[in-house]
Amino acid sequence: MEEYKLMKGNEAIAEAAILAGTDGYFGYPITPQSEVMEYLTMEKPEERTGMVVLQAESEVASINMLYGAAGSGKKVMTSSSSPGISLMQEGISYLAGAELPCLIVNVARGGPGLGTIQPGQADYFQATKGGGHGDYHLIVLAPASVQEMADFVSMAYDLAFKYRNPVMILSDGAIGQMMEKVKFKKQQERMKTQPGWATVGKTPDREPNIITSLDLDPARHERFNIKLQKKYEKIQKEEVLFEEIACDDIDYAFVAYGTSARICQKSIELAREEGIKVGLFRPISLWPFPYKEVGKIADRLKGILSVELSAGQMVEDVRLAVNGKIKVEHYGRMGGMIPTPEEIVLALKKQIIGG
Amino acid sequence: MAKVRGTIVVDIEKCKGCEICVGACPTSVISMSTEVNAKGYQYAYLNDPDGCTGCTNCAIVCPDGVITVYRAKVK
């Protein structure tokens, strides 16, 4: 019999973390994701699996604890929300530069600055275009349900270790806080052995392992950067994830992820009642972004409305993908406001169909 | 009576000529060369075969770890 639980998105990610065999969680409280660490400490994962949970003195400390633990080959994660993730950017750049696998969860809220504790999707640029300094990418996954919050944890670890790259789950306060039914996978065992590059103590059979992102020799450092870019190319080729909802026989599409994608599903129903043939293209991997797939669907459309809880960030990637073939506009709310399905339909009519 | 005698071997090319060892030697038997090594540093050397007791003082203060010390009792 399938066993479902009713849970908040934040709790689901925490439970999934234990079940995925996470070795360590390092975090710092921030709304709207504090339930992640609260759930973890309540669950006594040190007894369930031996998982370590530590509340750090800041997000700066948590991301650097993550660096140390990931550098020693363990399966580790942190979670935070927008301002906290901003504080972590230096560490994230170092993690990417040292090629360390780990999971970073951003349950995003509106900004800029202290902004609001209500949901937002204005961290898209930060998550997908670098965020910190240097030429690097995170793999960014955007769940749109509590179930996906849970499912993406082990998926994120698999990708992280496959590519030696940090992975971010970019969620938002709405999905973090809402309750839905969720079904969990079985308990995975924690890793028994570490990858060969991990710093676990130098044995006589090998040279010292060094975890660093520094190289003062420009030629060698350029070669390293080229290697990184090759890795990113491979990820772009092989790891694109997306979903098309009600996309057969349509004239228009919404492109939206996370909370916005959920609202757009309702907008599709409303629009169809009025005879407007619209579907939803939902990028699941925000990086790598499904450029090719968005470009392909654009061939049979008259227009696309990109819907985000932001002033328009992902829309830039949608436009790149569409490359001028059809009209692409953005509709979004900010400051923690969430659009109704009706206003999205109205925006579609005004900005795309009638515009 | 047995006497303790020592000697030091300075890795000349790695010596940076800092002279820290010179002042550390209790019998003052280390001098700096007038010629320089490939890096352009004057290097340390033992100036008196009878003065070194092999106490290792010079070696343990050498920041670059370039001194090796030998010691033996001689009749």
Binding site: F26, E57, A69 | N57, I60, V61, P63
Partner: protein
């Protein structure tokens, strides 16, 4: 003359009394002539060899002059971002409680940008060892004022000497961490003379042994020179250090475990 090795007959394996440890490799260190970093590195390496813990030790390098220290050690190491070594070490140690984990940090790294990480790692009593090299200056970036720059001391950003009213006080962070219940052993040492080297080495040994006992953070400050930053030849810098640094940064144990 200077090239000649005297007393060649003594050079036999059985007479060997001092040789550089195998825990350091043969790379020439990039430090300036006479810099205490080299000595501090060597002492840590010697203790690792003597305790036979090479395969159990993980070192965390800082940002600063010793940013490339992993190029000289035959041990696994991680390079932390500026000031975060205690957090990085915490991450390693929490997941590998049986390993020996240490950080090696300068004054800017540990006592300015990394103050929060230092204080909180010490306050949690992380079972790590922190080596803190205090030369009162930012060496790598060209000799700017550090949190430990003495009153009146000249640096490239205090060209007329550190003015307390304007630039604040030099920070005795070692006394500060000694106040925290999480630290078990806190001491201040030096590496410029044979006797100070011997004391520091003993302190390093103790610190790493305490780490094995899981009784909290062990913290060793080494007051050292920065000949280039201070603009003095090495021997003179060491004299200046004795006359000026030691009265303010007094050498000796500040905190020892109760059992001792």
């Amino acid at each position: 003359m200077a090239d000649q090795i005297l007393n060649k007959e003594l050079i036999k394996p059985e007479n060997l009394v001092y040789k550089k440890t195998k825990i350091l490799n043969d790379n020439v260190m990039h430090y300036c002539p006479g810099c205490g970093h080299g000595t501090a590195h060597r002492l840590i390496a010697e203790v690792i060899e003597e305790m036979d813990i090479q395969s159990d030790v993980i070192g965390i390098a800082p940002v600063g002059c010793s940013v490339l220290m992993y190029n000289y050690f035959n041990i696994d190491m991680q390079e932390a971002s500026h000031g975060r070594a205690p957090a990085v070490a915490t991450g390693v140690k929490r997941l590998w409680p049986d390993k020996t984990v240490f950080t090696y940090q300068g004054d800017g790294d540990l006592a300015a940008i990394g103050t929060a990480e230092t204080i909180h790692a010490c306050n949690r009593g992380e079972n790590i060892t922190i080596f803190f090299i205090n030369n009162g200056i930012y060496g790598m970036t060209g000799g700017q004022m550090a949190p430990t720059t003495l009153e009146g001391m000249k640096s490239s950003t205090t060209p007329y000497g550190r003015n307390i009213a304007m630039m604040g006080n030099p920070l005795k962070i070692t006394e500060l961490v000694a106040q925290l219940p999480g630290t078990c052993y806190v001491t201040r040492q030096a590496v410029h003379t044979p006797s100070s080297v011997r004391k520091t080495k003993k302190a390093i040994r103790k610190a790493l042994e305490y780490q094995k006992k899981n009784i909290g953070t062990s913290f060793i400050e080494v007051v050292s020179n920065c000949n280039s930053g201070w603009k003095m030849p090495p021997v003179q810098a060491n004299e200046w250090m004795e006359e000026n640094m030691f009265p303010f940064f007094q050498l000796g144990d500040i905190k020892v475990p109760e059992e001792d």
